[in-house]
Amino acid sequence: MKLGHKTFSKLITIFACTLTLVFSVSAVAQSGTFRARLSPMPTTPQTVTTITGEGEVILTLEGNTLTVRGNFAGMNSAATMAHVHNGPPAQPGPVVHQLEITKMPAGEISAVLELTDEQVSALNNNALYIQVHSETNPPGELRGWVFARN
């Protein structure tokens, strides 16, 4: 089928737009500031006094390097571990990175991580979260999904 001038022009425009979009998304994906609000893991009236605390983590992406800096306070017991997990909002998923954390009920979280391209994509799709474990809550006491910082 022979393409008419208008049709051809439209295709060129669509192609150009697509390229621009792909380039733009890729560019945005490789840098930015993100934030996770840490709040108690799923709780009930039975556990509300033993799963406690809050915190904030700021994450800065440059290329595939993610710098993580944060703090937390008010946990029921000393922190033991902190991880970055891969899972869409409100859906738990596997650990993908380990973080440094103060082994106290309050303290700091930090790390400099090299993300894979898939993990960068997950970061941009709100599909990474941070989880803090503690002595009295080994499965986790604080958790927060990572979103682009406004």
Binding site: T44, P45, Y129
Partner: protein, 702 residues
């Protein structure tokens, strides 16, 4: 509808038979009664510790109840469980409690907890250890109750307790209800269309900043989510415990008071006025008509048998001369139906019933798999419907199937369970179903679509809007029921697809296939993206303004035996903040009803606990858990007035006028289920008094 082949059906039948035999005592999971060292008293003693560990956080160390769980002692317990057996109590607790999960609680623990509850309530005529099949009637073994039955005791107040007369009362006609006087708020959402909108504009965006408290009236304590009625300068106020008061709406002076009973601490959201009567539903599923002038009872009728668990938490709407009422407490496996009923407004005589659960041999009967009628549960109508006088149709939302998760109810995600979680349009003449639209078939997370139906006319389009716990604003044609459009008002991840053409939802695969005791994480939680707090339609701007809530849950189904008298809800739940909300539970969202676009939204940490109410002054009012009552500009969403009340602001704001002066009224109140309990475990920093039910009335200074 899933087709079940014969082999599958036989297997299901065999499984059901095994479960039935086990539940009927074929096998006991309780401690061996033959162990002579185990007695009722020893079980009760051991059960005290198990209760303290697993139950006291919600029900109180002494079974006194808290804001998170009901009282389990005294008259409240005897009224609810006195005619039941320990086996049924055990069955109920095992299926439903504790709500956060029952890991580590053995069958023996559960039996001991039941013994502790019974012992604490005075069961003293028992020596033998309880088992899973102990079937004595509980009250018969409480010597105090037996003795009380044989001697007269002071009764709680009943009937008119404060006498007075409203002079020059003008009876309320159908025409008045179809087109209310701007000064009145004569039904739960003010008009038949359910708009929660007052055309009064004396108080407006320019002057609301000067609004001050005019009067306040303390109400009886207990669970309370009320909507006052105001007609011709009189406020009719439903209190906890089925108490109605008539107050001078301008001054707060009490004119009369009536106790219809039972005298409990339970909630009733609204009442109705028609002709010369105030008509109330009671918490024990009766309808009572009072003389609006004096509060004297005119007639009374039973809606359903409360001893079988039926109840009401919302009152009636009077449409076309009929008192139309829903029903709650339909989660048990009993032969009785769940229905909407209509009664003659002058006599209370039953005119028709519409069953919300399809029977096996009736329309929609094949949507419940192979379940016998006895085990088809749910479909409550616990929020009052609306009415189109031209179409002579009343519109109601129905609750979901029970138990909450398909696997617990011995069904699959394909067994959609008509007519649950639907909008039903029912003829007010005959009670026949005109059309239905099932918003969420085979509901699987305790997220029902039962709330108010708001009727809107846009050009020639006659529409009905609803917004359920999934936080999805639905727009349907109210003549045909046809799906028009939807809008997600809060984050939800339960559905992977909502069909733009049909509105058909597709659950996430793990929710579709959830197994017993398997945790599923989803948003929103059972507190609802929206719950009973009604939204308002603001006709001048074509805007729907909704009070929303942002939490999520983890949910795990429990096993429920198919045994008569059993049933229940049967899931363990845990709650957490909704990702992406920065911990803001409360949201007010304004939506253009033509485009369904969000016009503005406002978010805050405290959850909202009133309906929204809009006015001709371009204001929308709403109250929250943190005791704040606020007014927003309908157009911009800007907060233009705010005050703080004695306790959490809960109920339905209204506006009215007396002698040309406009008033804004709202209740501060306590109690409630998921919308209170879920914020209760997340907003632990928000403190408010555990008493303080009251109605507050505001106005501009004279």
């Amino acid at each position: 509808m899933k087709i079940i082949n014969k082999n599958t059906a036989r297997a299901l039948l065999a499984s059901a038979l095994v479960l039935l035999l086990a539940a009927c005592g074929g096998e006991s999971t309780a401690p061996a009664a033959s162990d002579a060292s185990v007695t009722f008293n020893s079980q009760a003693e051991t059960g005290a510790d198990a209760f303290a560990s697993n139950c006291a956080a919600c029900h109180g160390a002494n079974l006194e109840g808290t804001t998170l769980g009901p009282i389990l002692s005294g008259n409240s317990f005897v009224q609810r469980w006195g005619t039941q057996t320990p086996a049924l109590l055990l069955n109920n607790i095992q299926a439903n409690m504790p709500p956060g999960g029952n890991d580590g609680i053995s069958d023996e623990d559960y039996t001991n907890i039941v013994a502790h509850i019974l012992s604490s309530n005075g069961v003293d005529a028992v020596t033998e250890a309880l088992t899973a099949s102990t079937d004595f009637e509980i009250a018969d073994n409480i010597s105090q109750v037996v003795a009380r039955r044989s001697r007269p005791e002071p009764e709680p107040p009943q009937g008119v307790t404060v006498a007075g007369t409203i002079e020059n009362f003008t009876p309320v006609t159908d025409a008045m209800l179809e087109n209310p006087d701007p000064a009145d708020w004569p039904m739960h959402r003010r008009n038949y269309y359910g708009h929660s909108y007052s055309p009064l504009s004396q108080i407006n965006t320019d002057n609301v900043g000067g609004m001050t408290l005019e009067w306040v009236w303390n109400m009886y304590e207990g669970d309370s989510e009320p909507a006052p009625l105001v007609y011709d300068g009189i406020m009719y106020l439903i209190n906890p415990g089925n108490v109605i008061q008539a107050l001078d709406a301008a001054t707060g002076e009490l004119i009369w008071e009536n106790w219809a009973g039972p005298a409990n601490r339970q909630d009733m959201r609204n009442i109705a006025i028609y002709n010369d009567k105030i008509i109330q539903a009671t918490t024990d599923a009766r309808l009572v008509a009072l003389d609006a002038r004096t509060g004297e009872q005119v007639w009374e009728t039973e809606v359903a048998d409360s001893s079988k668990g039926f109840s009401n938490s919302s009152g009636p709407i009077v449409a076309d001369g009929k008192v139309i009422l829903g029903l709650a407490g339909c989660a048990r496996y009993i032969p009785e139906d769940c229905y909407i009923s209509a009664h003659d407004a002058n006599t209370g005589e039953l005119e028709w019933r519409f069953n919300t659960i399809a029977k096996a041999n009736g329309p929609g009967g094949d949507t419940w798999g192979e379940l016998p009628d006895l085990f088809r549960a749910g479909g409550e109508t616990w929020i009052t419907g609306s009415y189109d006088p031209d179409l002579k149709l009343t519109y109601w939302g129905t609750a979901q199937q029970k138990p909450w998760v398909p696997v617990s109810r011995h069904l699959t995600i394909n067994d959609v369970g008509l007519f649950t979680n639907s909008t039903v349009a029912v003829s007010t003449d005959t009670g026949e179903l005109d059309w239905f639209f099932q918003h969420v078939p085979a509901e699987a997370l305790d997220l029902d679509e039962v709330f108010e139906r708001i009727l809107v006319n846009r050009g020639d389009d006659k529409l009905v809007f609803s917004l359920g716990k999934y936080g999805i604003l639905w727009k349907n044609d109210r003549v045909s029921g046809e799906f028009q459009a939807y809008k997600e008002t809060v984050f939800q991840n339960a559905f992977t697809d909502i069909d733009d053409e049909t509105g058909l939802v597709t659950y996430r695969e793990d929710i579709q296939n959830a197994k017993l005791n398997e945790w599923t994480s989803a948003c929103p939680s059972s507190a609802g993206g929206k719950d009973w707090h009604s939204m308002t339609y603001h006709p001048p701007t074509g805007t729907m303004i909704a009070p929303l809530s942002q939490t999520c849950l983890e949910n795990a189904a429990r096993e429920v035996a198919l045994v008569q008298g059993g049933g229940g809800l049967a899931a363990s739940r845990k709650f957490f903040e909704m990702p992406g909300t920065d911990g803001n539970l409360g949201k007010i969202g304004a939506y253009n009803v033509d485009t369904m676009d969000e016009v503005w939204s406002y978010q805050q940490r405290a959850s909202f606990h009133t309906g929204t109410m809009s006015t001709g002054g371009n204001l929308v009012f709403v109250g929250d858990l943190d005791r704040r009552f606020k007014a927003f500009d309908v157009t911009t969403g800007e907060i233009v007035w705010e005050t703080r009340l004695g306790t959490s602001v809960q109920g339905h704001p209204v506006s009215f006028a007396v002698d040309g002066k406009q008033y804004i009224a709202v209740t501060a109140a306590l109690g409630g289920t998921s919308p209170r309990a879920v914020p209760g475990v997340i907003l632990t920093e928000i403190k408010y008094p555990r008493s303080g039910n009251a109605v507050y009335v505001f106005a501009l200074p004279d």
